[in-house]
């Protein structure tokens, strides 16, 4: 076994944690263990894993409705995240947000978002606030390909370039806008071309290879921090599941999913590590460890109490706080 594989293994572990978290959540959802909407990021794990490996603890990120991986990769504790999906008092948001509003401000994860492109204006504002208080922290702004057709995408790109803000725009291009192929609803030459029209440069990469994402993110995060100017990372990937856990994706073209699975980011990375001489038992040990971690989180979430009904009225506002009628 030649060289140091710590980073490659750490990237693999992060991806594995996202994968198994999502698998456990999907199974629980399908068992009827909690209601609502669940948007799985299975197949897309390399992007948050590779990007967040290059962020500092005080860097921030904004997320999407498909946000579990962003939280885990930024370092959010898994038990509160799982408990949030179950709507429990011990959840990251006390059970009041659920999957679509999962957040952990203690690690700079400024929230998932139920509105497509909702995070973009928030991200540029966070970067502007950080600049005002003299911080060189970077804001990683995750969004999907679907978000590039909404107005706030253009507004936020213009804003970040105009004011010189430390934002890394990360477009997780998973091919779909809800139930529709994004290509079928999108004119022009793609997300990176739109960014370049606002004077923001970047790269378009294979988002299923975590080493490629890690390398690109390292360059761009360093550049953003050093120059104080935004950059753009367009990472191409593929959404394995439907838009939500109940969407069977009948619209999917034949053969496409199989092709995507042949490029499973976990397998890509595991094969790289093996080819570099990492003992397969090391990978298997990570898998077993992560499986146990996520099963434990699920069991704790199942056993955790729901919030007291009084919590429904808490944390609305100080002035004019609500009361039961």
């Amino acid at each position: 076994m030649a060289g140091n594989h710590d980073r490659g293994l750490a990237l693999y572990r992060t991806m594995r944690r996202i994968r198994v978290f999502e698998e456990v959540a999907l199974e629980a959802y399908r068992n009827g263990e909690f209601p609502g909407f669940l948007h799985s990021s299975i197949g897309q794990e390399a992007i948050p894993s590779g990007v967040c490996a290059n962020l500092r603890a005080d860097d921030r990120l904004t997320s999407t409705h498909r946000g579990h991986g962003h939280g885990l990769a930024k370092g959010a504790a898994v038990d509160p995240m799982m408990a949030e999906l179950y709507g429990r008092a011990s959840g990251a948001c006390g059970g009041k947000g659920g999957s679509m509003h999962i957040a952990d401000f203690s690690v700079g994860m400024l929230g998932a978002n139920g509105i497509v492109s909702g995070g973009l204006p928030i991200a540029v504002g966070a970067a502007q606030g950080l600049k005002l208080i003299g911080s060189d922290a970077v804001v990683a702004c995750f969004f999907g390909d679907g978000a590039t057709n909404r107005g706030p995408f253009l507004e936020a790109l213009n804003w970040a370039a105009l004011y010189g803000l430390r934002v890394l725009f990360v477009c997780e291009d998973n091919t779909f806008s809800a139930f529709t192929y994004t290509a079928g609803t999108t004119a022009g030459a793609g997300p990176l071309a739109r960014a370049r029209s606002c004077g923001i440069d970047g790269v378009s990469i294979d988002g299923n290879d975590v080493a490629v994402v890690d390398e690109a993110a390292r360059t761009l995060v360093d550049q953003v921090r050093a120059t104080g100017q935004p950059a753009f990372l367009h990472a191409r990937t593929y959404r394995w599941f439907g838009h939500t856990a109940t969407d069977m994706a009948a619209y999917r073209r034949p053969g496409e999913l199989e092709a995507a699975k042949a490029r499973d980011p976990l397998i890509v990375q595991a094969q790289r590590l093996a080819s570099e001489g990492v003992d397969p038992a090391t990978i298997a040990a990570i898998d077993a460890d992560v499986d146990a971690e996520m099963a434990r989180a699920r069991d704790r979430a199942r056993a955790a109490p729901f919030p007291a009904v009084e919590a429904a009225l808490a944390d609305v506002q100080d002035a004019g706080a609500p009361t039961w009628l």
């Binding site: 904004t62 948001c93 005002l132 609305v316």
Partner: protein, 320 residues
Amino acid sequence: MALMSFAEASARAMAEEMRRDPTVWVLGEDVRHGGVFGQYKGLMAEFGGTRVVDTPIAEATIMGAGLGAALVGTRPVIEMRIADFVLPAMDELVNQIAKARYMFGGQARAALVVRMPHGLLKGSAAQHSQTIENWFVNVPGLVVLTPATATDLAAAIAFAIRADDPVLIFDPKSHWKTVEDVPDAVAPLVPGKAVLRRAGMAATVVTWSQALPAVLAGVEASGIAADVIDLVSLWPWDRAAVAASVRKTGRLMVVQEGGIDGGFGNDVIAATLEDIGPAALKAVRRLGAPRIPVPFSPPLEAAITLTPERVRDALRQLCA
């Protein structure tokens, strides 16, 4: 005490807050030039372009960036130019700002101010004249302030900037140049505390924001001794003050510049009925705009403008 316009009172209050707290900043279109009404005059010279930030005409991101900046610990004052322009930013205000604290389980505070000059302003027509403050009373998480005097506007600014809640200030747009005596030191407003502008035993007139001058003149002209209650804030609002007054007078009139249908006046009447019981109420009346967009043509606009005469006549009918 000094004579100053609403715009001058605003600029003074803003400067005082920005001197007190270096994390306070203002963003919006043309604020470097003092804002479209002069309400930020002098701030650029004193605080510079990093704290007085001219923005693109990008309402969604003006609003959303304000939230992002609040989430990392600054206190932005978001200027919307006029209230009508909040409509392209409703996702950021209603879905994001108002709910951030709640849906994240108290991890986040959207400590920010949104200023929205609102109401009729001579021929501004359907998209520059709206009075829609009542919409926001329906949005949990938001504080809704509707000051009617220069002093209360300054007090609203001081309160709103120091508050940890997202606070909306609906500036009375037709009064920017009106001059009043303003105390040298203005204490932060207490939200939900109404001000009794005139006292009387025969009727209770409840109003807020731009309607106040016409109400005071109309009550004077009516010769009827009425309590005039200026709510100052619509959420929270001073339900107890209204109930106490109507218990005494038995007659309630609500005067609002905006439309009656779905308006906040309906809440005032319904809550008062609950509080004092229908038997204690001899007469009720609502005065406000019909359910039409604001027309441009001067005589048409005049037909929906609150005047002292309309208030006088309505009050006389209430007490007939």
